[in-house]
């Protein structure tokens, strides 16, 4: 009898210990919605790479709350409805306490209200349009909005290159490029630059010769462009083909700040000027380590989207640790207080859940297929 009872007790004890160990090993899963397929997937994949790299480091250092951290990825394919479905899957099905992404501002305008309705914090790492965090008190972003970056770029161009007359081109059918234009227009007016013409194009256009021929005849000092990678590279190629001199710089927004641009536009991309919250050759040790690790893991250079994602995951992991439990409300409160020193420089959130520090912005120019700091 005694032995049998003892065996039973031992067995149940073992079961409890095993269950306890399993509970400790159940990962804390957060969600991420990114563009992993389709024409804009270069952004989503870079962001995913950045998350995964940081995730490895977080888990190597012991994870969060005594358990590993995990990310459940959902693809939005750049489509608003699929992004919505993904968010609903993550919140209602997988019950994640926090969502990273989505990739595009347009998608955030659709998904943000759902997260706010369910009181789940959502952190955009690449949503730079105006009004993102105004969606509601659970919407954060770690990417500097264009309104913080573009004025720095234009002021630098004015001071260092003597730009006075500019032509403006923007994609008018996309929330990101349109709001980029709004910021450029405001900055141009504030700096007292002259706008000789404002031309528009569609995000899927491939022929820009009409707009650029007109711009050529007006002789601007620079062309200010708000475009995503494809259209932006097309504009650079057309500018070269039409014989607009290299001294006429293309000044871009965040969309042109990508190593993909020279891959398409080749030497036509030289001279392109953009402002960036992060730069690959930033000399600090944290950044050097990030770039080396990223190259080792993915066999390519990181871009700013990967860098922003990399920092964001550390910020989020810190918030989960500070919250003490994988609870959406606690994580949201903790996020507001996180201070992080990452590859983009010092980071904290403003009370409106935007990045507080803009000191990391550098103006860079394309030379021989690579960005370097503008001298």
């Amino acid at each position: 009898m005694i032995t049998r009872r003892f065996a039973l007790a031992a067995a149940s004890l073992a079961a409890m210990v095993y269950a306890g160990a399993a509970a400790a090993q159940t990962p804390v899963t957060i969600g991420a919605i990114e563009i992993l397929t389709g024409p804009n997937n270069k952004y989503g994949v870079a962001i995913k790479n950045g998350f995964d790299l940081a995730l490895e480091e977080v888990n190597k250092a012991g994870g969060v709350l005594g358990a590993p951290l995990a990310i459940a990825y959902e693809d939005s394919a750049g489509n608003k409805d699929q992004a919505l479905n993904a968010a609903r899957q993550l919140i209602g099905g997988k019950k994640v306490p926090l969502i990273l992404g989505p990739t595009l501002s347009n998608e955030m305008f659709a998904v943000g209200p759902i997260a706010v309705e369910r009181k789940i914090p959502i952190v955009g790492t690449s949503t730079t349009a105006n009004g993102i965090t105004a969606i509601g008190p659970y919407v954060f972003r770690t990417s500097l909005p264009e309104s913080d970056v573009v004025p720095v770029t234009l002021r630098t161009a004015k001071e260092k290159l003597g730009v006075k007359k500019v032509a403006v081109m923007y994609g008018n059918d996309d929330a990101f490029t349109k709001s980029g234009y709004d910021v450029m227009k405001a900055a141009i007016e504030k700096l007292g630059l002259e706008t000789v013409t404002t031309e528009t194009f569609g995000g899927k256009d491939t022929d820009f010769s009409a707009q650029l021929t007109k711009i050529k005849s007006l002789n601007p000092d620079a062309i200010v462009v708000s475009a995503l990678v494809e259209a932006g590279a097309g504009i650079l190629l057309a500018k070269k083909a039409l014989g607009i001199p290299d001294s006429v710089r293309v000044i871009g927004g965040n969309g042109l700040n990508s190593p993909q641009v020279p891959l398409v536009a080749r030497e036509a991309a030289d001279g392109t000027l953009v402002g960036s919250p992060w730069f690959i050759d930033k000399p600090d040790a944290a950044n050097q380590k990030f770039v080396a690790d990223y190259k080792a893991k993915y066999n390519m250079d990181p871009d700013q989207f990967a860098a922003q994602a990399y920092d964001t995951l550390f910020i989020v992991a810190q918030a989960i640790k500070d919250a003490g439990a994988p609870n959406a409300e606690k994580i949201r409160d903790a996020l507001g207080k996180v201070k992080h020193n990452g590859v983009m420089g010092p980071f904290s959130f403003t009370p409106d859940r935007d990045p507080a520090d803009t000191s990391g912005v550098v103006v860079i120019e394309m030379k021989g297929g690579k960005f370097q700091i503008l001298k």
Binding site: T37, K80, D81, R88, A175, S179
Partner: protein, 286 residues
């Protein structure tokens, strides 16, 4: 409501609403295809309904039923205006003209301050729901089922098979064509309004050429022998991307292959069955 049901509804809410809205759009395509007309203006009518309804709700705060009515009347009016000149066209020329109209409207939305330009309209309050969406779909289906069995349905089928012969038999071709276009526009406008009031955000690119082709594919996949075919097609094409979500990267490939196979092996649509006719001879001796 039990928690698991609440979670289920929350998780699949967008999908459940999209099924109903796309069903309505498929019916709006069915009305014109049933006459043998290839019009691709449905996405534009949907956009017009969506924008009109969203503006009325956001700026004027009108009650929802009134907003829905306006969202049906505005595209109907537009259909009347553009119908007269464009219905003289047929086949691909009509398709081209209606694509053009859709593009004109899209570019108007992009450039107009009132409609918020490329940023679209956000913060549209949620007013639609299961009842308004599936109620509309059920009503439209029942109405079409009756029409398909009636004299009008027979005239429509006659026009689809041979317009010249139908005309010679005394079918009033222009009246039928214009009527179908107006009904189609009203349904698309209703679908647009319902969609705008459950998804809180609309932008001009939601109603472009891609949307027009998607709506056409609903009807073609389902088959246009009866109004039920297009709705089935819409349900399948809306569900597929979500059902295939676990396949991740292979999702688009499998999705595309299924559609191609369906079109190759079932050229008349998945539901090739035709509606019976009221008063038709059944083969039994009278």
């Amino acid at each position: 409501m039990p928690e698991f049901l609440d979670d289920f509804l929350f998780t699949y809410q967008t999908l459940i609403y999209a099924l109903g809205v796309n069903g309505l759009l498929a019916l709006s395509m069915y009305v014109v295809l049933a006459l043998g007309q290839l019009s691709l203006g449905q996405a534009a009518f949907m956009g017009l309904g969506a924008y009109v309804s969203a503006l009325l709700t956001v700026k004027l705060g009108l009650p929802f039923p009134l907003v829905l009515l306006a969202a049906m009347l505005a595209p109907a009016l537009a259909a009347l205006c553009v119908g007269a000149p464009t219905l003289r066209l047929s086949g691909v020329y009509l398709a081209l003209a209606t694509i053009g109209l859709g593009e004109v409207q899209r570019i108007f939305f992009i450039n107009s301050e009132l409609t918020g330009g490329a940023l679209g309209l956000s913060g549209i309050p949620t007013k639609g729901g299961l009842i308004s969406i599936y109620g509309s779909l059920a009503l439209a289906l029942i109405a079409f089922a009756f029409v398909a069995r009636s004299k009008i349905g027979r005239a429509m089928e006659a026009m689809r098979e041979d317009e010249l012969a139908a005309g010679a038999l005394g079918v009033d071709l222009p009246a039928y064509k214009l009527g179908a276009l107006v009904v189609s526009a009203m349904l698309a406008g209703l679908a647009g309004a319902l969609n705008a009031h459950v998804s809180s955000f609309i932008s001009p690119n939601d109603y472009g050429f891609d949307a027009a082709v998607t709506i056409l594919s609903f009807a073609l996949l389902g088959g246009i022998g009866s109004p039920f075919g297009p709705v089935l097609g819409a349900f399948i094409l809306t569900l597929l991307p979500e059902v295939l979500r676990p396949l991740a990267d292979y999702k688009t490939v499998v999705n595309g292959s299924i559609i191609v196979l369906a079109v190759i092996f079932m050229p008349r649509g998945l539901l090739a069955w035709r509606m019976g006719r009221a008063g038709a001879a059944t083969g039994r001796p009278k």
